[in-house]
């Protein structure tokens, strides 16, 4: 049906590509039968590179191939199943053993672990096809976990493995093929295949399927070219869309795992499994699974249209809801709403772009079917300009991030950026948040058009948004800096883009530094920012809001302009300077002590863009300024919900183990609107239960959406409706159905606490994981600029008067910003204290020994990590029973 095929693949092409393959290794494995969700073994692949493997679990069988490749198996032990369950638990378990404290993202021993959980692959309950992917992240330097759909995870399990490890680093481009029916794993060099996913996944589906019909038995993990020059690479997991007759992609987006994948020179991992049916997990009590599945299928059939419309538009249904409740991140999280949001509302995507009436599940049995797509979408930029393609999306995060947060209110550009993110293999969320940061820096005048080589970094230029990614592919241009993420942007901007001090101007030898006319950056606050319904905020007790209130012009701090250039990504092209005599070249180590404002040459192997021109360090004030609004924590970019008015969500983001992703907790409505968790203890309890409950999805191989994106009719009578207790019971039923063991809230929380605490200690082991690392940027807590304050002045004034007890009358806006922000920092501090306490951690965020004993995770390797921290902080417990842990 689709007209998505501007990149037709011929049989000759496939033959040519295959002929260029060189076999590096072949491994044959014994077939197994899955027992209650587990194969009890995992697949280990090392693709070359030397590293110390002494800490790793032994291979129970293996072969060695050319170029130091190794393929083998490891046992999944009762200990692993008991403590780590599966999925993310197995990922972190293998990763812990594979690496050392000194391991960086590009060390050969960094281990990409892909694991479906014990429930993954059942077809009867929606959202049971998930894989969890773990690795050391290039953005954060700590383990990241990412949850992804597509067919790969279930096929891996049915092929015979509970996890797949990819370690080492190849010299040549390779493809790994797992044949689940012939029981072989092969590694081939693959010099000719494409890298970009929308082509590669088609090529490999064609290459490894014996017939067209066989394509439904293939799944491909791939990445894309932009991940090679950025830190935000994602992995695409393919699934065959039988109705569209094309390959679709789902992303393991967060944390740059795709960058690790491409650094290892893996082009793709392909799996084939024929013979799918609903009982391959060999479930213990199938009746429980069937009954739960049909219950939820019926809810979807009857309730979705009146509730969330997931079947029509997927998660994008909430774009306009978020805008109405002032939660849609806009212009780098300054605001929560924008007058142009109707242009990118779900209705627009439904009516103009998304192809309808298809069962869009990313695994079988998903009656929620949120994996929407726009078919026949014609691209305007880049190497595929003019091609008609299938865009997977838009999901809410993409529309909010690549839309309002970067200031783009044109649905075409959102979809085009969505497409390029996917095929180039970059994470839409990080891409959006770090572009928004770069835009705000530009509009604050922290760097200029010379630094971008003419690229227009004002809000919302759709050409620029895509051009940044095209530059990540070529490895040249300002996009390469953006692609390193906000933490690196802050460092690179600070090293390079300062202003030359007058005392050093002579060093430039008459070179005119800034020869491009800058765009206007001082603009009045659009009054439209003021007339939203703003009363749904925490603490605010006054009612109503004057929709017609106009504050007049306020110059200076608001960062919005009349709109970007609509024809091009470029405002002008500056000339590149010749090397200037008399400016010294210094080493990277010398930069720290180099004077501010004095030009110098240096070299940054991580980002060679502008290596050829003089750099100037920024002032300490400018560096501090970027810290305030650079929306990252632990090195990961924030996901796309405005958290300013919800203290609990500020904690949900900042205390998230991998960095600020809302998959641990989304508490904004419970906290801000419903005010159901008013005290610190209430919020801490929510920041315990929900992260534990949601962690559990990642252990079992489940999707979060069928839990609460449809609500059973009787949920309104529940004591704790936010938990959707009936659906939680469904999960306990399918757990018992597969594994044969009863499950309760207590045992479920215990399973998660073990892995969650393990992950916290893991990040501590990697040099993060203390209280200071949980500190968020100021903007996540409230209005840091006068413009932000004034846009919601009535709200903040009321809070000051009613909650803080200070009369705002007669105070300047700057004074008021300080009062609000000081108060909010003190609130945040108290929240962190309460959450750490609830989780059994010290005030410095270190899990206590007593907690490890309580949850039966007092493993020697974990105690060894926390011991020095606990002793230093004075939390090492005294008493005879603790002597054995010394």
């Amino acid at each position: 049906m689709s007209d998505n095929c501007s990149h037709k693949i011929s049989k000759d092409d496939i033959t040519r590509m295959k002929a260029a393959h060189k076999r590096l290794a072949t491994y044959s494995f014994e077939p197994t039968t899955i027992e209650r969700g587990y194969n009890n073994r995992s697949l280990y692949i090392s693709i070359g590179g030397s590293f110390d493997a002494s800490n790793q679990d032994k291979l129970t069988a293996s072969v060695s191939g050319e170029n130091c490749t190794v393929i083998g198996e490891k046992a999944v032990t009762p200990h692993m199943k008991d403590k780590f369950v599966g999925g993310k638990g197995f990922g972190l378990y293998h990763l812990w053993k594979a690496i050392s404290e000194g391991t960086r993202w590009n060390s050969p021993e960094n281990d990409i672990v892909i694991s479906p959980g014990p429930l993954a692959g059942i077809t009867q309950y929606p959202g049971a096809g998930k894989s969890l992917v773990c690795a050391i992240s290039p953005l954060t330097g700590i383990p990241v976990d990412s949850n992804v759909g597509g067919f790969f995870g279930p096929f891996l399990k049915f092929a015979g493995f509970d996890a797949l490890e990819l370690q080492g680093k190849s010299d040549e481009e390779i493809i790994i093929f797992i044949d689940g029916n012939e029981h072989t794993v092969t590694i081939d060099t693959a010099p000719l295949e494409a890298v970009d996913s929308h082509i590669l996944a088609e090529q490999l589906s064609e290459m490894y399927a014996s017939t067209h019909e066989d394509k439904e038995n293939i799944s491909v993990i791939s990445c894309g070219r932009a991940s090679e020059n950025s830190y935000i690479g994602c992995l695409n997991f393919s699934f065959w869309d039988k109705r569209r007759d094309c390959v679709r992609l789902k992303q393991a987006g967060r944390g740059g795992i795709g960058t690790v994948f491409r650094h290892k020179k893996i082009k793709a991992v392909v799996i084939r499994y024929r013979g799918l049916h609903g009982d391959l997990n060999n479930p213990s009590k199938k009746g429980l699974i069937n009954a739960a599945g049909v219950r939820l299928h019926k809810e979807m059939a009857h309730l979705d249209t009146s509730q969330n419309n997931m079947r029509k538009i997927g998660t994008a249904n909430i774009i306009e809801v978020m805008d109405r409740y002032d939660l849609l991140p806009t212009h780098n999280f300054q605001f929560g709403a924008h007058p142009e949001t109707p242009k990118i509302s779900s209705k627009v995507f439904i009516e103009k772009y998304v192809t309808q009436n298809l069962p869009d599940g990313c695994w079988y049995g998903c009656s929620m079917s949120c994996a929407k797509a726009a078919d026949g979408f014609e691209l305007r930029t880049g190497p595929y300009k003019g091609h008609k393609v299938c865009v997977d999306g838009p999901e809410y995060e993409n529309a909010a991030g690549l839309g309002s947060n970067v200031g783009c209110f044109d649905p075409h550009w959102i979809l085009e950026a969505n497409f390029y993110c996917d095929t180039y293999g970059v994470d839409t969320i990080s891409m959006a948040t770090m572009t928004a940061f770069a835009e705000e820096c530009y509009q604050r005048g922290l760097y200029n058009l010379n630094d971008t080589e003419g690229l227009d970094m004002r809000w919302g230029n759709g050409y620029t948004l895509n051009e940044l990614m095209h530059q990540m592919v070529t490895g040249d241009g300002f996009g390469v800096i953006v692609g390193k993420g906000i933490r690196q942007q802050k460092r690179i901007f600070a090293e390079r883009f300062g202003k030359v001090s007058p005392e050093y101007e002579h060093m430039l030898g008459g070179y005119v530094w800034n020869d491009i006319k800058e765009p206007v950056i001082d603009m009045p606050i659009p009054t439209s920012h003021f007339n939203k319904n703003l009363e749904n905020c925490e603490f605010l007790q006054s009612t109503g809001y004057d929709d017609n209130k106009i504050l007049g012009e306020i110059k200076g701090t608001i960062l919005e302009n009349a709109g970007a250039n609509n024809d091009s990504a470029y405002i002008a092209k500056p000339t590149k300077p010749e090397k200037i005599e008399g400016i010294p070249t210094i080493t990277r180590e010398e930069i720290a002590d180099w004077p501010v404002g004095k030009p110098y040459y240096s070299d940054d192997p991580d980002c060679s863009y502008t290596n050829s021109r003089p750099w100037v360090k920024m002032t300490p004030e400018q560096v501090a300024e970027m810290e305030e609004f650079g929306m990252e924590n632990k090195g990961l970019e924030y996901s796309e919900y405005l958290m300013k008015e919800s203290l609990a969500q500020q904690g949900g983001y900042a205390l998230c183990n991998k960095g600020p992703q809302h998959d641990e907790a989304w508490l904004i409505f419970m906290d801000m609107v419903n005010n159901q968790i008013p005290t610190f203890e209430d919020k801490a309890e929510a920041l315990h239960y929900f992260p534990m409950f949601r962690t559990w999805f990642g252990l079992l191989g489940l999707c979060k959406l069928p839990w609460n994106d449809v609500t059973p009719v009787n949920n309104k009578y529940e004591k704790e409706p936010a938990k959707i207790p009936e659906h939680v019971q469904n999960y306990f039923d399918i757990y018992e159905g597969v594994l044969g063991k009863r499950h309760t809230e207590v045992s479920m929380v215990r399973q998660s606490e073990r892995v969650y605490t393990f992950q916290r200690i893991f990040i501590l082991r990697m040099g993060s994981g203390q209280r200071k690392h949980d500190t968020p940027p100021s903007r996540s807590l409230g209005p840091i600029t006068e413009g932000e304050y004034l846009s919601r002045e009535e709200r903040y004034d009321a809070q000051m008067k009613d909650i803080i007890g200070i009369d705002p009358c007669g105070k300047s806006t700057a004074e008021k910003v300080k009062i609000i922000m000081d108060y909010r920092w003190s609130q945040f501090k108290q929240l962190v204290d309460a959450v750490y306490k609830r989780r059994g951690w010290t005030p410095n965020g270190i899990p206590k020994l007593e907690k490890l004993i309580e949850i039966e995770m007092d493993l020697p390797e974990l105690v060894a990590v926390i011991r020095p921290y606990l002793k230093e902080e004075g939390y090492w417990p005294q008493g005879e029973e603790y002597k054995k842990y010394e």
Partner: protein, 69 residues
Amino acid sequence: MNEPVITLNNRPYPFKEGLTISAIMTERKYDFPAIIVRINNKHIEEEDWQTTTVAADDNVEIIHVFGGG
């Protein structure tokens, strides 16, 4: 004497005679599709929001059921 109030989502909210659930929701611009209403812990069905009035000192909960992305 203090103005009469109700408690709305754990916060004081001005009371006036004949105040209905629907009127509160309009005032607060609560238009989310999944909302639960309880008065003094008693569930109020959606079809009764128009006609149900609150009394002074009532504890009203208007809960948006949305657990997020």
